[in-house]
Structure formats: structure tokens, C-alpha cells
Amino acid sequence: MMELFEMMLTTGLWASVIRIATPLIFATLGELICERAGVLNLGIEGIMTIGAMAGWIWVYQGGDLWGGIVFAAIVGMIFGFLHSILAVYLGVSQHVSGIGITLLASSISYYAYTLIIPFSTTPPKIVPFSVFEVPILSSIPIIGQAFFHQSALTYLSYILVIITFFVLYKMPIGLTIRMAGENPVANESQGINVLLVRTGAVMAGSALMAIGGAFLTMSAFDAFYFGMINGRGWICVALVIFASWKPGKAFLGAILFALFEALQIRAQLIGADVIPYQIFSMMPYFLSILAMMLVARKAAYPKALLIPFRQGDRI
């Protein structure tokens, strides 16, 4: 027990917690924005995959890192747009459309990767984002080293949490987005084009998911592996429910989840002889299910989530 407690206090642990949390923060925010507008986006897993692939390929082909992030975001938005056409404009089942987007985006990622990168046993690498130390803030003990001794993308994720909060709660457009997910008829009566609002939200959310994926290949690791998203997208869908659709809670949820993940990885190393490592690897998935169980009963789903909106509809 003491050992665990001592481990919790090391900067090394917290630095890795933040590293694990960053892609989850991006993608959870992305899913949150989509769902706030009333659209479930199960394309998340595929959009993260193609974001990871697209950003990495951009840099591998000689582009610069930030260009890669922009490229990943644009690719993500394209798939978000596709999901919008199906789920928002045509009003098909959001579940099936999302799964379809995931299948399409991940198969295109693998197709493109195999096409562009000649086969080799060791995947080629890029020079990823380097650590950027924030002056002053990084000198705070433990927390400073953990939170402000990271790559620039991580700082971008902090800023996006604040921006998302500010936009959703303090700006008229945020009210419009939330209303599209709660009571689209009221939106329409204000002369607002609900379909357009939803499409915009899904595209913006998908861009964030893609950046979350790109973080993995461009900052956490330096190569693209098949199946590297490994359910992170689905975990983010669970995190959105756990966070009751609030950006601040989503941030905390991602950190909390990442803490368990980091502890789990360390426990794997210590307990490898006694307990098979797979048991530890299962923990994040169980944890996500547990998190949903805790909040499920009182979960305040956006009221119009999953319900397609048709102009002129009356509820």
C-alpha cells in the first residue's frame, strides 16, 4: 500500500498520466460536442485511426508537424461531414451510420498506409513533437513537471477544454448547439437551421477526434501501427456519459482514467510473474463499463440525442 502511495507522488507517473490522457481529452471533447448537438458519433474509432494515419503520413512525406495536425483535422472533418449527410440530413440510424464510418475510415487508413509505405518489419518513424517546457508553470513541484513538461499538443488540449466550455456555455452559438441536442423544434422556431448546426458540430467534433488520433502517432509514439487506437474511441464514448456531457468533467474523467491506465501499466511490470499481463490490460475496459454503471441511472442524456430532426416536424 505504501509502495502504491509513493508511486502516486512521482513525477514520472503523472507525466505519463497526462500523456495517456491527451488523446482521450481531444476525442472525448469531440464526441461531447457531437452529442451535445444531438448526434451520436460512433465514427470516433475510425476517425481517430485515420487522423493518426493522415497526420503521420503528412510528416513522413516531408510536411511539418503542425501541417500534419491540420491535415488530420481536415480529414476528420470530411468523415464528420459524411456522417452528417447520413445521420443528420437523411436521418438514418446514428448507430449504424457511425459503425459504417468507423469501418470505412479505418479500412481507408490501412489501405492508404499499405499503399504508400512499402512493407517492412520495422515500421518507419518520424521525428515527433518534442517536449516544450512552459516557463514558470513547470517549476511548480510535481504538478508543474507533469502538466507543463509535455508536447505542445497537450497544451492545445488544455486550451480546447476551456474553449469548448466557453463556447458551449458563454456564447450564443453554444446555446444554439445545446438546443439542437435538447429541443431542436425550439431552435427552428427561432429561424435557426438545425441541420446546419448539427452538421457543424459533428464536423468540429470529428476534427478533434482526428487530432486525438494524430497525437498518438505524432507525439506519444513516432510510427503508425495497425489497430493502434485499440478501443480508445469507444472508451471516449463511455467517458462522455461519465462526464455527463460537461467539458470540465470530461477533462477530469480523462485524467482519472489515464491515472488508472498508468497504474495498470506499472502494475503489469511488477506483477507479471504472478498475474498474466492480460488481466491488467482488461482493466481500462472494465473501468469504462464501471464508470457508466455509476452514472447510468441519473445520466441526463441530451433529450434529442439519436432523434433525427426533420424540418417542419412537431414533437
Binding site: 460512433l42 459524411l82 447520413l86 440530413y89 437523411l90 436521418g91 438514418v92 440510424s93 448507430h95 449504424v96 451510420s97 459503425i99 459504417g100 464510418i101 469501418l103 470505412l104 479505418s106 479500412s107 481507408i108 490501412y110 489501405y111 499499405t114 499503399l115 485499440n230 478501443g231 469507444w234 472508451i235 464514448v237 463511455a238 456519459i241 498474466p276 492480460q278 488481466i279 490490460s281 482488461m282 475496459y285 472494465f286 469504462s288 463499463i289 457508466m292 454503471m293 447510468a296 441511472r297 445520466a299 426533420r310 424540418q311 417542419g312
Partner: protein, 350 residues
């Protein structure tokens, strides 16, 4: 642009829809082939030859279709009741584990008893694992989409653990695979010099059975009613929880049988590469069939031929075989659009 309900969609349109969707997929897929610097026409000729060009190719396509019929039925039954079971992949592995547990020497009975027993064991395993998300949904209101998806990863890790630990076959030269299914449990091949096995007959029987259940029984009626309108069904006295439970049992059981069929039929032993995503492809199969159990057979064979053809094509022409996944995903998305257009009309302008 607005969307209006269309009263009667012509039957030919509904029947032509899956074919049109696959057509659209091939047209869009052509751009991906052009991207690879190859001629789409040559590529598609190679694909068709590879999937239908010889007796062997046809049997390969049919044996690839076998697990897809099971997982397609699993998705179709669940989606009809709007129960979003996206966990067929995990349930498939549960079925495969059950078949391995029972079929590798625990008991040895004559084949006519042994084989049905393996299928029943697999179906039970698939049901049991799906029971977790079902109970979480009916008792705690936990969304089943995320739980079924997450359990896929848990189950795969569990299989991995067994294959690297207690179930590892010492005769397998260090490969992580389980012991072979005993001779009496192996599904016999039904066409000489091919890999097409008894599993497809079982799959066909199950699709007829599911069709009959959905069409003629009270259960089937309840499943359809719950899928259409939950409120009305409750009002009518149908217990939603009971129907969801029923659906889940069918759905998980069918997916579990897919695993049995692969382990005892095609591979002969459990590995981590048993299923290249059959559970997820099953969703495309079910949607292309517009959730009709008999339609599932046809669309499973269609999609299986695309996979088998693409494998063959990638051996002769330099195109990654992921093209098959792209084609299947596009046909899934276009059938969604198409199904919408048969039920609604788009009216341009105000």
C-alpha cells in the same frame, strides 16, 4: 431541402437496393484502385475470377460466407428490436472458446452427438456473455452499444491469455494456438478437395429457423413490435425487458455459433486470428439484407466473395486487400442511404 414520407415503395426497388449499393461501392472503389495506379476493370475482373472463377474459388467464397451468415443473423435479430449488439466479434470468440473447452478431449462422443453439442456449447457461451450488457441495460440503463463494444476487447485479451497460458498447445511450435478439436468434433467437408464444411448447412438452417421465428411466432411478433415502437408495445402489454432478453439470447447464441463453425470447421483449433472482424462485417451483412434472415444468406455470400476475390486479386495485382473492407463499408453506407430513399422522398426547395 426536406424529407417527406413515401407511402408505398415499389417492391422491385427494395429488392434491387442491395445490388445497387454494391454497384455504388464498386464505382467509388474504382477511384481507390486508380489511386494504386492500376486499372479498375482489370482489378475487378481479377476479383470476380478469384471469387467465382472456379469450383475451388466458389467453395472458398461459401466457406468465408459461413461465419458471416451467423454474425449477420446475430446483428439482424438484434437490430430488428433496436438492440444495438455490436459485440458479435467477442461473442464469436466466446463460442470458439466453448467449442475448444468441450471439443479438445473433455468428452469424446460419436460425431452425430458431438457436433450438435459443440454448437450448443458455443451458443450458450455467446448468450452468457451478451447477458452482461443486457442486464446492465435492463436493470441499470447502461447503454449497450458501448458495453458490447468494450467487451470485444476484454474477450480478445482473455483469449490471448488462455492461448499464451493454460491452453497453449505445446505441439504448435511456439505459436499461440490451442489444441486441435478431436476428430469426432470436426465438421466434415461437404465438397471434396475444398474447405467448405458442414457449418454452412447449419448456417442455412439457422437462417430459415430465424425467419420462421420472426415471421410466425409470438416472440417474433414481439421483437418486431418492440423495434417499431417501444411505447406502443408496452401499452399493448409486451414486456420490453423480456423481449430484449429474448433477442439477446438469439443474437449472442448465433454469434457464438459462428465461432464454433470456424474452430471446428475451418481452422480446427482456436487462434487469435480466428476472425478478421466477422462480427463487424456481420453488421454490413445484416443491413444489406435489410434485416431479413433469408436475405442475410445472400448478402453474406456477396460480401464473402468480395473478400475472397480481393485476396486473390492482391496476389496478382498490386492492390492491398484492404480494398475489400473499403468496398464493404461503402456498400453498408450506401444501403443506408438507399433504404432511406425507399421510405422517404427528398423534396428540394421549401
Amino acid at each position: 431541402m426536406r424529407i417527406k414520407t413515401r407511402r408505398n415503395a415499389p417492391v422491385w426497388l427494395i429488392a434491387a437496393l442491395p445490388i445497387l449499393s454494391i454497384g455504388v461501392a464498386f464505382i467509388i472503389g474504382a477511384f481507390f484502385i486508380l489511386w494504386a495506379g492500376e486499372s479498375p476493370i482489370n482489378a475487378y475482373i481479377a476479383l470476380i475470377k478469384g471469387s467465382l472463377g472456379s469450383t475451388f474459388a466458389i467453395t472458398e467464397s461459401l466457406s468465408r460466407a459461413t461465419p458471416l451468415i451467423f454474425t449477420g443473423l446475430a446483428a439482424a435479430v438484434a437490430f430488428r428490436a433496436k438492440f444495438w449488439n455490436i459485440g458479435a466479434e467477442g461473442q464469436l470468440y466466446c463460442g470458439a472458446m466453448a467449442a475448444t473447452l468441450v471439443g479438445t478431449g473433455m468428452i469424446d462422443l460419436p460425431a452425430p452427438i458431438m457436433i450438435p453439442m459443440l454448437f450448443i456449447a458455443g451458443a450458450i457461451a455467446g448468450c452468457l456473455i451478451l447477458l452482461v450488457p443486457v442486464i446492465l441495460k435492463t436493470h441499470m440503463k447502461v447503454d449497450e452499444v458501448v458495453t458490447t463494444l468494450l467487451l470485444n476487447f476484454v474477450i480478445l485479451l482473455f483469449v490471448n491469455m488462455l492461448l499464451e497460458g493454460p491452453w497453449k498447445d505445446p505441439m504448435a511450435m511456439g505459436w499461440p494456438q490451442a489444441a486441435r478439436i478431436i476428430d469426432n468434433g470436426v465438421l466434415p467437408t461437404i465438397v471434396a478437395k475444398s474447405r467448405l464444411h458442414l457449418g454452412i448447412i447449419v448456417a442455412l438452417l439457422m437462417s430459415v429457423l430465424m425467419w420462421a421465428i420472426i415471421r410466425f411466432t409470438v416472440w417474433g411478433y414481439e421483437i418486431r413490435a418492440v423495434g417499431h415502437n417501444q411505447q406502443a408495445s408496452t401499452f399493448y402489454g409486451i414486456s420490453i425487458n423480456k423481449s430484449v432478453l429474448m433477442v439477446a439470447l438469439f443474437s449472442g447464441g448465433l454469434a457464438g455459433m459462428a465461432g464454433v463453425s470456424e474452430v471446428a470447421g475451418l481452422k480446427g483449433y482456436l487462434t487469435l486470428t480466428l476472425s478478421p472482424g466477422f462480427g463487424y462485417t456481420g453488421i454490413a451483412v445484416a443491413m444489406l439484407a435489410q434485416l431479413h434472415p433469408i436475405g442475410v444468406v445472400i448478402s453474406a455470400i456477396f460480401l464473402a466473395s468480395i473478400y475472397v476475390g480481393a485476396d486473390a486479386m492482391s496476389r496478382t495485382i498490386d492492390i492491398p486487400n484492404y480494398i475489400a473492407d473499403i468496398l464493404v463499408a461503402i456498400s453498408l453506407l450506401s444501403v443506408l442511404v438507399g433504404a432511406m430513399l425507399t421510405r422517404y422522398r427528398i423534396v428540394w426547395g421549401k
